[in-house]
Symmetry: C2
Subunit: 294 residues, 2 copies
């Protein structure tokens, strides 16, 4: 079995490390939070005192951290991953960050002959716990092949989508479609409620036709009940929409609906709803329509 | 078996009439096109000389015509359906029209004790041929129950969603979600292509996660290949977006993405692409992004 270092043991990284342990791998973890390190030890993992010590102990390094700045610090910092990695060692960043940062890390790694993949995920905490994440991977084909047995422990769908940064680009497209679909379903629900339609029956028939989507399947019931506990927080989706709109801008691609929904998410965050689930876009449609619940 | 009159024997009404014949019903048809009437006779149906003669011969009248103006003429005209209907007779309008017109027809029918349902469909020509349409029905519960055995011949999902006009309201919401989802997928594809991602692999992984939808399943391959033969024409979706935006306006519901995609569909139509499939929204995203194929 492979020895794997996992940096970042939060809502996503924690259960992913546990699944790797259950699959028989030797897992060494590191997190800035002592409580998370203790939890990993209790699940059968080891804990490193720092990033350098972790990298030197393992075959493969995985990071699952918050944003581009965190990846830059952990991967490119003076005592970070690349500063301690051996030539030929494999580093898989599974955080959701900007494609540009992923390409920057890959370029720095190439000079040191370290192998890098960007492999962000979709599927949330439930997918991390169940090992059913969708994983979109950018990098060299032979490095993808080397990482595949590990990634298949963590995900149900693992797809190589192109060179360095391509995984992040697909994740950005994923977040664009998810945000837009939530907003479309929110607009449809508020519209149907205004006409006193049986919305539960309507959601059923909408889900059965060409309008069918995973948001109607998984989130519409919560939206009808106005239950917005996360799930995936508006704050994080706001971060991701920044990545999407910036990457589209850099490439000269015009995304009218993506840009509009990014603004609506920004409005929810500005109004103090950043901690709610992204399905709370419904709240904003109601508010815009003068239909807010008191 | 029930005797059924079908007014409108076009792309949708034609195969629906044939399915009713195959299910053992006596079908009397009427269309302004002689060729369509001949086709119905060849499939085992009878043809009426006019609307009045048709209505007087049958138990149940169905209309499947183009737009609100057509329904007004056929249902409310001097020699139309209501002018010839018997008290208690059932009339099911399956056209996609404005909810306001459906309520107007229902009110006129109520005075004459004629029973009316609005029952628009989703699923297109393929769904009409296969008898797998999604059918969203507005009207009285007992009239829905009376029509259900007939509607189940035509559709795979048949749902009563509320009072008169509610079927059209749900159809409007359906068209809002479908148009918006096509646009989101179009924006994602152009974005991914700009970064030279393997788009076929990306579509696979997007379809497997929270971004998954019926457009990725059924239309993304054609969009990647730039195949825009209809399918469902931009002209018709433009008509439907007029119904959605107008009905939302009437109810004071604000639909930012719905309004934006209505404008994008209007642009495609204005540029002469009204005859293409609605997935041609991809063409417009490319054009806006300066990436049009020469």
């Amino acid at each position: 079995m492979t020895s794997i270092g996992m940096i970042g043991l939060g809502i996503m990284g924690g259960p992913m490390a546990v699944n790797l342990i259950k699959a028989g791998h030797d897992v060494v973890g590191y997190d800035v939070s002592p409580a998370r390190n203790v939890a990993l030890e209790q699940a059968g993992g080891k804990v490193a005192a720092g990033i350098g010590e972790l990298v030197q102990q393992v075959d493969v390094v995985i990071t699952m951290v918050r944003d581009s700045a965190d990846v830059e610090a952990v991967a490119l910092g003076d005592s970070g991953i690349l500063a301690n990695a051996r030539p030929g060692q494999l580093y898989v960043d599974m955080s959701s960050i900007s494609p540009g940062t992923s390409r920057q890390v890959a370029e720095a790694a190439r000079i040191l002959s370290v192998r890098v993949l960007d492999a962000p995920v979709s599927g949330g905490e439930a997918g991390a716990i169940e090992g059913t994440l969708s994983i979109m991977v950018g990098g060299e084909s032979e490095d993808f092949a080397a990482a595949l047995p590990i990634l298949e422990v963590l995900g149900g769908t693992v797809v190589h989508v192109g060179p360095a940064g391509a995984g992040q680009t697909v994740k950005a497209a994923n977040q664009l479609i998810v945000a837009g679909t939530i907003e479309l379903v929110a607009e449809a629900i508020v519209f149907l409620e205004a006409y006193e339609v049986d919305t539960e029956a309507a959601v059923k028939v909408l889900a059965g036709g060409l309008a069918g989507n995973r948001i109607l399947d998984r989130k519409a019931a919560g939206m009808l009940a106005r239950q917005f506990q996360p799930g995936f927080r508006i704050d994080l989706h706001h971060k991701d929409m920044g990545i999407v709109t910036s990457a589209a801008r850099d490439a000269g691609v015009v995304i009218p609906l993506g840009a509009a929904v990014a603004q609506l998410i920004a409005a929810l965050k500005a109004q103090g709803d950043g901690g709610l689930d992204h399905s709370a876009l419904l709240k904003l449609v109601e508010q815009l329509s003068g239909r807010s619940a008191g």
